[in-house]
Assembly symmetry: C2
Homo-oligomer: 114 residues x 2
DNA sequence: CTATCATATGAATATAAGTTCATATGAATG
DNA sequence: CATTCATATGAACTTATATTCATATGATAG
């Protein structure tokens, strides 16, 4: 039992009733979690410039192929990037423009608050 | 040494040269990390409805005051929420409209991809 | 069909992050 | 000024996450 001396139940029930379902809140959290990592952010910015194969991303970021591959899987599952095969290589590219839009919003917030 | 049989150095140098500084990429990642948690997402949605004191948030979310307080600190440090004191209580509210905008973008991405 | 390059994946490890518990701070009230 | 309510904070614990290493898959060329 928390501090229930207060009785704000009418208001709180209203707030509660307008909360989205937990599944949506969870999905939203999971989506932003994907943006919440420097390596993935660097991959996305690299792909802003050009579509790239896995080993190219690894070279650009000076990281191991395996680490990149693991992160690309997370980005793919979140539908932030897609890939196509070309011979032996897998070319990755941004899935759509939401990625840019979301990151730009974040950038605006950062620069305004700095 | 990774798979350097490829020589895409011209292109890769170009991509590399257009990457933002690591400090920015890190700040962006850190910002989105704040959105990347269900509890914080629930707090933000609660605050979409109304400014609320800590114990009200705890009640609405059926969580302990301490857990909420810890998460509010993270939201405060990211400048996503602000607070003011009112007597014994601390009232929290959204710091600005970037919060809504960013979450709406995420929501759009989710619904389009579903 | 074997060797090689490109990528993916599983297990292991290390680090980060969220919640709880206990307690400290800070304001109001009698 | 002692008590109570509201919030904050530090430490401990637990769970999640990122990277590495070793290896598997998959495609191509010889």
């Amino acid at each position: 039992m928390s501090h229930s001396k207060h009785n704000h139940s009418e208001k709180l029930n209203l707030v509660l009733s307008h909360l989205p379902e937990d599944s949506l809140l969870c999905d939203l959290g999971d989506l932003f979690k994907v943006f919440g990592d420097t390596t993935r952010m660097r991959i996305l910015f690299a792909l802003f410039q050009s579509e790239l194969c896995v080993c190219a991303i690894a070279e650009v970021l000076h990281m191991e192929q395996s680490a990149i591959s693991h992160q690309l899987r997370i980005l793919r599952e979140a539908k932030l990037v897609s890939s196509r095969r070309e011979g032996k290589t897998n070319i990755y590219f941004l899935a759509d423009d939401h990625v840019r839009a979301i990151i730009e919003m974040g950038y605006e917030h950062l620069t305004e608050k700095a």
